[in-house]
Structures are given as structure tokens and as C-alpha cells.
């Protein structure tokens, strides 16, 4: 049973990491969900895998199953659930506002203006600028 659980956690984490590294928001959401599943099973096994043991210490029983990881998993599930719901809504909002579902909003939306470099000057002005700089340089040369 240990091997099976370990494999399940491993496969889910691998798939989760792979999907999280994808460039579109929907695989990323799925990847995060898979990661959350993996961590939930992982937390559960941290109380050790036992079968047929009482949860609360019983004088007659030989051992007991750890009840705490289940409480932790429950909390983790609720939080992951809420976060995922938020992320999906945010991804939809990003899809609407950025015009595509790329995580970096790679392509510009129809009405988006790309960032302009501060030194972009029209060709006609540019010649003037070079002339003035030339003048200033020549002035400097004259000075000494």
C-alpha cells in the first residue's frame, strides 16, 4: 500500500508541475489543482498508514490511528478549493481583459498601446538633435 500511495503522490505531483509550467491559464489551474490533490494525500500519509486502528487512544487496542492529519487535510482542501475558485475567476477576467489566455498576456490586445521608449524621436527631429550635439561637441573642442 505504501508503494501505491507513494506512486500516486509522485505521479500527481509530476503531472501538476508539468501542467503548472504550461503557458495557458487553464492548464495552470488544472496543474495547481493536481498539486493540491497530491499534497492532500501526502499530508494524510504523514499520520502513517494504518488499518483498523481506533482514532482515539483505547486501552484495549495495540495502537491508534493519528486523527490530526485528517483535520489538516480538511483545512487544506477547503483553502485549496477557495483559492482555485478565485483563480478560475481571475483567469476568466484576464482572458477578457488581456484578449487571450496566455499567462503573460503575450499578444497585445486590440486597443493596447505598446510601451514607448523615452528616446524615440521622429526622424526630422533626430537630425536636428544630432546637429546640436555636433555643435556642442565642436564648441567643446574649441574651448581649450
Amino acid at each position: 500500500m505504501e508503494l501505491l500511495i507513494a506512486l500516486v503522490i509522485g505521479v500527481m505531483t509530476t503531472a501538476g508541475v508539468y501542467l503548472t509550467l504550461r503557458a495557458r491559464t487553464f492548464p495552470v489551474v488544472l496543474g495547481l489543482t493536481l498539486l493540491a490533490y497530491a499534497v492532500n494525500v501526502f499530508l494524510f500519509t504523514m499520520g502513517r498508514l494504518t488499518i483498523g486502528q481506533p482514532a482515539v487512544i483505547d486501552a484495549a487496542a495495540a495502537g491508534y490511528g493519528d486523527p490530526l492529519p485528517q483535520a489538516l487535510v480538511l483545512t487544506a482542501i477547503v483553502i485549496a478549493f477557495g483559492m482555485t475558485a478565485f483563480l478560475i475567476v481571475l483567469a476568466l477576467k484576464a482572458r477578457g481583459e488581456l484578449g487571450n489566455d496566455h499567462v503573460d498576456g503575450l499578444h497585445l490586445a486590440p486597443d493596447e498601446v505598446p510601451y514607448e521608449k523615452p528616446e524615440q524621436i521622429k526622424p526630422s527631429q533626430q537630425t536636428q538633435v544630432t546637429e546640436t550635439t555636433m555643435n556642442s561637441q565642436s564648441n567643446q573642442e574649441v574651448k581649450p
Binding site: T20, A38, A80, M83, K93, P118
Partner: protein, 508 residues
């Protein structure tokens, strides 16, 4: 006095609900209620600092369950100091949001603000690792809402990255906590520290791996070297009061490293004692070098201030990594300074962006802004404080940290990186200051809006922390050194948490 420990967590939680229902009374009621609660938090935290000065850990057992079984809240000098800084910063940020009417741009700003404070204060007060995770999530969920407040395309894009990286961080946190629980069988920070001291040697590797995984998680929050890429975009694109409040968010990461690693892997941890400090120091130095490059390369003032926040966090990481009580004391002094001044700078960047009209905060030539002399001198003041030049508090903070590094093995690397990074930020700020205020274009009509006087009060108030930290430098640095000494004395923390008895019920 035990109840005082629970109050800073309860007040914003109850406050959040009250503010939510105050919605029916209109925005004015929400605003005044929120201001009132934040003011209450400031008085409460001053009282907490006073109580913590007795040097006794005040432990609150929630549900009256004794320490390793129930969740504990611990009030000591460190947590009291963090809550105090948070409340002061929150007041400045909230005042600015109300004065500029930014809170009107979306619903539930005030509710999210209170829940943000709830998460922050909870993270500072809790003594339980899993509870720390829960408060992190509360804090993050509120911060997602605040980050996106007011909307805008770039904000959504930065918000998406911020949410995804923090969700990955949350997953890693659970892996780390789960592994630690599996290895030592407890979640209470104090109990964990006690159990690690007697852990069997074959578990040491697992515990160390979980500890480093936990460091990654806190590194995401603190924006430590490979994990800082989300910060500049998120901070530069959100609204000013939120960015100002977020100045404390990175410090939560620093606090968690100091609290969790400093206690669990502190002097009691045997072979694992302080095994994490070289990592923090090395990554802190790397972060500092890259942050300085970012400050130089920034294309707008808000982006530049975000990189300055990153540089200050990196300096704090270096201070933590030096691992001595003097260095930690200096780090806390720098933490107070950098949090409040960074908050003020984000607000000031917004004032400047508004004053420049369509050019916003981009580093390009624009028509002169209204009240340029007032805003410009404030900018110079903030830049001097932020880059760590004398006579303001950034300088003294850095001197204290560098002074504590004198007998460290990495002396030359530390001095080299910190001083060169400092020089680069000074050059960059001088350049941006002259671009924003001197290279102006003539025009007949000023495009920007004039300075909002009542909003400017918040900027001045937060930046005033810097001269105050210099004037009261001696008592403040004495206090931060006491904080550091108490933090290094993890044995008394463990004892205080584990020996606090449950309150006897009065029998009817």
C-alpha cells in the same frame, strides 16, 4: 493580561464583519469605522509593546487546550513590534486611500483591508506552524482582492502571476509542514524545537530537507533571489495605498524565517542548529545585487520603488543570515525604517504620477508638476532615507548591520555587495529625481492635478518615521537589540509555551 494576546487577531476579524455590515450605512460609516479600528489597533499594539517589555512571553491557549495539543498565540517583543509597525503603516495607507477616494473604485476595499490586517496580525501572533499556514492564506486571499482593487489590464496580469506563485508557495508550505509533522509528530513551533533536539539521527536529513523547503516558502513571501520576479510587477501596478500596505507583506516572510527557523532550527537543534543561515545570507546577497540592477533599469518611479523594496528586503535577509544578536537587532531597526519609508515612497510615487498627468510616473520629460518644490523636496528626503545616505535612518540601519558583519567570514563579499548596491541605488535615484523634477517641458497649462493636501499628510507622516528613528535612535536600537536577544533565547520561548497551564474552570 492573557487576553491581550488574542485581541490583535480578534479585533480586525470582528472589525471586518462590522465594516461589511456598515455598507448599509454608506461609505462614510465604513471609512470612519475602519479608521477607528486601525486607531484602536495602534493603541492596542502600543500596550502590547509595553507588556512585552517585561520580558515574559504571554501565551494564549485557544480553547484552553495546553500547548502541544491546542493552537497557541504568543506575545513577545518581536510579535508586538511587528503588529505595531503593521498598524502604523495601515493608518498611513488607509488615510491616503480615503483622502484620494481610491477606496471608491471598487467594492469592499475596507472589508478586505481589515481581513488583510487579520491575516497579518494572526501570522505575527501564532505559535503553531499549521496555523501560520492558515493565516498566510487569509492574508493572501485578502491581498489578492486588494491587489486587483480598481482593476486595469496590467493589474490583472500582475495579479494572475502573484496568485499563481503564491498558490504554488502554499502547496510547498503544506509539503514542508507535512514532512515535519511526519518526522517529529507535532506542529507547535516550540514543541517542534524541543522534539528536533532529540530526533533520531536517521531523521535528520528529512527534517533538514523540510526546513529548507519551508525556507523556499518564506522566500516566496520575502521575495528572495530566484523567487522575486513577481514582486516588481505586482507592486508597481497595484493602487498606491495597497502597494504601501504591501510593504509589510515581504517582511512577513522575514519574520517567519526569524520566528520559525530561528526557533525550530535554533541553538537547541543539535546538528541542525542554524544550518539555514548560509543559504539566507548567500541568497540575500544575490537578491541585493539583482535588486540594485533593477533599481537602475526601472522605467517608471513605481517600478523603481518596488525594486527599492526588494533591495531593503535583501538587506534584511543579509542581516538575518549574519546570525548574531547584534546583527538581528540591527536588522529589526532596518526593518522598522524600511517598512514605513517604503510605504511612504509608494504613496509619494502616486502623488508624483498624479501631478504629471498623462506621463504618469514614466521616466520621460514632462511638463512641470504643480507644487513641484514641495513634492520634489519630499522626494529627495525619501530618496535619501531609502538609499541609506546620512543623516536619515537608512544610513544608521545599514551601519548597524555592516558593523555586526565585521567579524564574519564573508566580510569582504558582504561589504562589497551592500556598498556597491547602495551606490547604484543612489545613482539611480539621483537620475530619476532629476528626470522627474528638473528636465521639464515648458507649457501654458499644467496637465496634472494639484497635490491633494490631506492625502499628502499620509506621505509626510510615513516618511517622518525616518527622522524620528534617528532622533530616538538610541532607545529604538536598544529596543530592537532586546527583541533580538529575546528571539535568540529560544529556550525560554519553548519553556514559556510548553509550561503555560490551562485556566482552571470555576466550578459552579
Amino acid at each position: 493580561m492573557m487576553q491581550l494576546t488574542a485581541w490583535p487577531v480578534l479585533l480586525p476579524l470582528v472589525g471586518g464583519f462590522l465594516v461589511l455590515f456598515a455598507r448599509f450605512g454608506g461609505l462614510r460609516l465604513q471609512r470612519s469605522l475602519n479608521l477607528l479600528i486601525v486607531l484602536g489597533l495602534i493603541f492596542l499594539s502600543i500596550e502590547m509593546v509595553k507588556v512585552s517589555m517585561t520580558g515574559v512571553h504571554q501565551v494564549y491557549l485557544s480553547g484552553n487546550w495546553i500547548a502541544p495539543f491546542g493552537i497557541v498565540f504568543v506575545l513577545d517583543k518581536l510579535s508586538a513590534m511587528m503588529v505595531l509597525i503593521t498598524s502604523i503603516l495601515a493608518l498611513g495607507s488607509l488615510w491616503y486611500a480615503i483622502a484620494t477616494k481610491i477606496d471608491e473604485k471598487g467594492s469592499h476595499f475596507h472589508v478586505l483591508f481589515q481581513l488583510q490586517l487579520f491575516g497579518l496580525n494572526g501570522a505575527f501572533m501564532t505559535g503553531d506552524l499549521f496555523n501560520l499556514f492558515v493565516f498566510f492564506e487569509v492574508m493572501l486571499l485578502a491581498s489578492y482582492g486588494l491587489l486587483l482593487h480598481g482593476s486595469g489590464r496590467l493589474r490583472t496580469k500582475a495579479g494572475l502571476h502573484y496568485v499563481v506563485i503564491n498558490m504554488i508557495g502554499a502547496t510547498l508550505f503544506l509539503f514542508a509542514v507535512g514532512a515535519l509533522y511526519g518526522a517529529v509528530g507535532t506542529l507547535n513551533i516550540a514543541d517542534m524545537a524541543a522534539k528536533i533536539a532529540v530526533a533520531p539521527p536517521e531523521n535528520q536529513g528529512l527534517i533538514a530537507a523540510a526546513g529548507l523547503l519551508l525556507l523556499i516558502v518564506f522566500g516566496v513571501k520575502a521575495a528572495m533571489f530566484p523567487l522575486y520576479l513577481w514582486l516588481p510587477a505586482a507592486y508597481a501596478n497595484t493602487s498606491a495605498p495597497v502597494a504601501a500596505l504591501f510593504a509589510i507583506m515581504t517582511k512577513v516572510g522575514i519574520y517567519s524565517i526569524v520566528r520559525a527557523h530561528g526557533t525550530i532550527f535554533g541553538e537547541t537543534a543539535g546538528d541542525l542548529a542554524f544550518f539555514w543561515t548560509p543559504w539566507v545570507l548567500g541568497l540575500g546577497l544575490l537578491t541585493l545585487a539583482l535588486a540594485a540592477l533593477g533599481v537602475m533599469a526601472a522605467r517608471g518611479l513605481r517600478e523603481q520603488v518596488a525594486y527599492l523594496v526588494l533591495a531593503s528586503v535583501a538587506t534584511l535577509l543579509v542581516g538575518v543570515g549574519l546570525n548574531s544578536p547584534e546583527a538581528l537587532g540591527a536588522t529589526f531597526y532596518y526593518l522598522i525604517h524600511s517598512t514605513l519609508v517604503a510605504g511612504g515612497m509608494f504613496l509619494l510615487a502616486d502623488v508624483i504620477a498624479r501631478g504629471r498627468g498623462p506621463m504618469n510616473d514614466k521616466f520621460t520629460s514632462a511638463p512641470i508638476m504643480p507644487n513641484a518644490v514641495l513634492v520634489g523636496s519630499m522626494f529627495m528626503f525619501g530618496a535619501v532615507a531609502m538609499t541609506g545616505m546620512p543623516p536619515l535612518s537608512g544610513f544608521f540601519g545599514k551601519v548597524l548591520i555592516l558593523g555586526a558583519a565585521l567579524d564574519h567570514a564573508w566580510l569582504f563579499t558582504i561589504y562589497g555587495v551592500v556598498l556597491v548596491a547602495g551606490l547604484m541605488t543612489i545613482v539611480a535615484m539621483a537620475r530619476s529625481g532629476s528626470l522627474l523634477f528638473y528636465r521639464t517641458q515648458p507649457c501654458n497649462e499644467l496637465p496634472g492635478e494639484p497635490v491633494n493636501k490631506s492625502a499628502f499628510v499620509a506621505v509626510v507622516g510615513l516618511l517622518a518615521a525616518s527622522p524620528l528613528l534617528v532622533i530616538f535612535g538610541n532607545p529604538v536600537s536598544n529596543f530592537t537589540e532586546l527583541v533580538a536577544l529575546q528571539q535568540f533565547d529560544s529556550i525560554s520561548y519553548i519553556e514559556a509555551v510548553l509550561t503555560t497551564p490551562a485556566i482552571e474552570r470555576v466550578k459552579p
